[in-house]
Symmetry: C2
């Protein structure tokens, strides 16, 4: 579809948004599950009414709110940062997993496992102040481009999810990110991109220390992991940070199982959703075999838990926000 025609479609979609708060969602079971749930919990006097203060909705980030292929965006950040830092670390040319990372040897990197990955994260995410890291993350996210779409990663966010976040907030929900990724990597841009302020971003964190340096108070990022917000860490992160149980959770991989269990295993109304990447043409198609965002056990657990599978290909009419320009399928 020509760009101008696309714009017209999107303007029309925006105009009809008052009638349809989720214009990029096709009619179908996923959309019905969402709107039905929101209608039920907001209906004053209804049997499933939930007071606004308890309308907590949690969203995974990678592969749920934005793209995570061909690799997690934060891993692309790590690899780029390693190149910037390499001249000061000549030992990396001999030392694994740094050598593999610098050479783009993903096979060796994969073999180094999560332990190896953690070494790379620590090397690139610590040693500076919180303010310095914020600048580094913001500069990178502004400059980096996705290898396939040649767009900034913050454009490769899912328009239907933006609409869902907005729809939930418009219905008194408070929206949180609960991600295995680094909280401080997401926070500098989460408000602009998702409308989610930094204080509603829960993620993995490295240790931090306060000190007064030459009279200036700073927070220093230390080479040690403080919290991994993935798998069983997700409900723990939710409890630590929010202190109450969500009533809606949206994820896309096995790392979200426990968050979904914690959300939908509570008494009272709740909704669990799983985005299934089924759209090789417009984005990617992957599940059980993927290195990033593997969706295997969660697929098996979905039916018995009533988790709603959202097939990207079937459920979404548009993928990325209009400012991104063209989309492969349009």
């Amino acid at each position: 579809m020509h760009r101008l025609a696309l714009s017209a479609v999107l303007v029309l979609a925006a105009l009809s948004a008052a009638a349809d708060p989720l214009p990029s969602w096709k009619d179908g079971p996923a959309k019905q599950a969402i709107t039905g749930f929101v209608t039920d919990v907001t209906k004053a006097g209804g049997k499933d009414f939930v007071p606004p203060a308890q309308r907590i909705a949690v969203f995974d980030n990678d592969g749920t709110l934005w793209i995570e292929q061909p690799m997690y965006t934060q891993l692309a950040f790590v690899l780029d940062r390693l190149k910037v830092l390499a001249p000061a670390h000549p030992e990396w040319t001999e030392q694994q997993p740094f050598k593999a990372a610098l050479e783009g040897d993903l096979a060796t990197l994969g073999a180094a496992g999560s332990e190896g990955l953690l070494q790379l994260v620590i090397a690139t995410h610590s040693g500076m102040t919180s303010a310095e890291f914020e600048t580094i993350a913001l500069d990178w996210i502004g400059a980096a481009r996705h290898p396939r779409f040649q767009q900034p990663y913050t454009q490769l966010i899912y328009q239907p999810m933006l609409e869902l976040l907005e729809y939930l907030r418009g219905n008194g929900f408070k929206t949180f990110i609960v991600s295995g990724g680094g909280a401080d990597f997401m926070r500098p841009w989460s408000e602009t991109v998702y409308g989610i302020p930094p204080e509603q971003v829960i993620g993995s964190q490295i240790a931090q220390r306060f000190e007064v340096r030459d009279g200036v108070p700073v927070i220093v990022r230390e080479p040690e992991v403080a919290f991994i917000d993935d798998q069983a860490g997700k409900p723990v992160g939710i409890q630590r940070h929010i202190g109450r149980r969500p009533i809606l959770a949206f994820g896309n991989s096995d790392g979200d199982i426990q968050m979904l269990q914690w959300t939908t295993g509570a008494p009272g109304p709740s909704l669990g959703l799983i985005l299934h990447h089924t759209d090789a043409e417009r984005e990617y198609a992957y599940d059980r075999e993927s290195h990033f965002g593997r969706l295997d056990k969660a697929l098996a657990l979905a039916p018995e838990n009533g988790w709603v599978l959202v097939s990207m290909k079937d459920a979404w009419s548009h993928l990325f926000p209009p400012t991104q320009g063209s989309q492969p399928d349009e």
Copy 2:
């Protein structure tokens, strides 16, 4: 003053609140500092304007929002819980610091230091699920009475601080608790009592673990400290949880020094405040020598940092909320 007359005064105070958002604050430098600051940062186009999203205000709890004498309220909770749990722990009658705690031997307890206190906290705050602990905390806070005022602790909160919280929120601020006390001890009642939802309560935390028990997902509280949100831990807790710097901080003891430094040491407008307990008649008078809420170094640091001292006796016309009934001075 007779209770009925007091009520009339308070109704009148409420009626004039539209004109004066801080009716329990006497005119003077503290009140002027607060209203001047709020006017400056909310004035669109003004040189000190701060966008609403960045209007983060952090409040210490013990001795700042509520009473902390003759001992921290959470310590009273710990001592009561130990009595409840003692029958299942016959070894405590011989074992310190449990023996001292059960006998009310505060001297021995004090000698056991923070290490000893931590043992008591862990014994009373772990081993149950998060839901069970919430019930325990709520039941206790509803039943316990302050030894001097014979009121629930949630009535021994400071009316001027309630007004300040409300005033700030009315001016686009987001209000947070940043306390050395346990987050999960405060969260069950913070919204009702302070209008601060659990997700805006930052405090010390013990380790937690997610598990599915006979098909039911639970979070189990573990006998290990995960985070101490005091002194240098306060700015770290703020950074971990909020991810941006506050522009207003209110504390009352040396434990708040780093939070005040982190807040007022930032570029741009900021306000640091210290409540000074100077009112033995209506509440308590203490600072440098107190075991709970010692205010010593922070007093010395206040002038050079521009931190505003709020003398309870001089700055506040009322201490406790009206529903509490009578106040010693009225």
